[in-house]
Amino acid sequence: MAQSLAKEFKKGLWAEIPPFRLVLGLCPVLAVTKSVENGIGMGVATTFVLVCSNLLVSLLRNTIPPKVRIACYIVIIATFVTIVELVMQAYTYPLFLKLGIFIPLIVVNCVVLGRSEAFASKNPPVMALADGLGIGIGFTLSLTAISAVREFIGAGSITVWDGSPLFAMPDWFIPLSFMVEAPGAFVALGLMLAGMNLIGNK
């Protein structure tokens, strides 16, 4: 039991890490990874929704009639997303202003619905919890990695909450602002995906 729990948790961190292995939920990946701060915020919000909805879907898996299961999942997911939205508005308003419309869009994030349908609806709650936590943390790590690359090349430094640069390039480095624009997201994601495949195929 403990062994398979660890397995379900760990698969989200490498073997099935979204969006590199599980190429789902690309909308937030491409849209909000302009800065590390946004990436982490989005990752944490998605993880919360993923864990809660996975747990609830798994608990209700024998109650939900198969024909209306997607509608039920969406109700559960949308509820948690709205809770996240309200809590973010109340406690981290500047971050909410930056992520804006992408928070409510977690409802239609394929990673979340995909885990409910493919995993939580077929497995006991503890397993679903481990799965949600693993995939969620994996998603957060990926978003952080992509946004770190983009912010680093695109802005020349990585700034965090208090506004002080965490990591800055020397003065001769001219930031390539293309990387923090929308097309830069595709380039960064594509190259990182290729890199992951290169390592994974060995």
Partner: protein
């Protein structure tokens, strides 16, 4: 038949529980969200509108009851001795719902001082320009109270941002609403300030 009933029951129970839960979270966070909106959206908008007032409009704000809701009024004392007020109205019909607009009006000359967009959920880079590009809202500055604040394409006097006509129209609706509200509330505002 049994399957049908179970489908209806499960969905009904699920949506009711979810609705109840959300209502509880909403009422629990409502006050804090209002505070945050005041701090991060309304305060900067008011500061930029009333850049040279001699008082603190945020601290001296008061509430006024209108027919259907309560609005917050921020009074500002201008350097030339006249008094202005700013309040927020919401324009319907933006792409992402209502657009909040704080409008400043001079009580002595009945002229608009200007307007700033506060809350909105317009598309980033397109509709969001109604907030980011101050040249659009600066068109409201120094307009008399009886000016037609509709878009030029609606026979008004305001130029829309190309590519963001729908969002601009929602902003002008908020401005027109502010004109009406001001006409209605002016006597009461004067009473409150004195």
């Amino acid at each position: 038949m049994r399957e049908m009933i179970s489908m209806i029951v499960v969905l009904t129970v699920l949506t009711s529980v979810s609705g109840g839960l959300l209502a509880a979270v909403k009422s629990g966070t409502e006050l804090r969200i209002e505070e945050q909106i005041l701090k991060f959206l309304q305060a900067p908008a008011i500061e930029s509108l009333f850049s040279d007032v001699t008082n603190d409009p945020l601290r001296e704000r008061f509430n006024l009851d209108t027919a259907d809701k309560t609005i917050q009024v921020f009074p500002g004392k201008m350097p030339d001795g006249s008094v202005a007020v700013a309040f927020e109205t919401f324009g319907k019909g933006g792409y992402g719902g209502d657009i909040g607009l704080i409008v400043g009006i001079n009580l002595d000359s009945d002229q608009l001082i200007g307007a700033r967009v506060t809350t909105h959920s317009e598309t980033p880079g397109l509709g969001s320009r109604v907030k980011d590009e101050l040249t659009f809202v600066s068109q409201f500055a120094d307009k008399p109270l009886d000016a037609n604040l509709a878009l030029k394409s609606d026979n008004g006097t305001i130029d829309a941002i190309s590519g963001a006509t729908v969002s601009c129209r929602a902003v002008t609706r908020a401005a027109i609403q502010a004109q009406e509200l001001y006409r209605q509330l002016k006597p009461e505002i004067i009473k409150q300030i004195q």
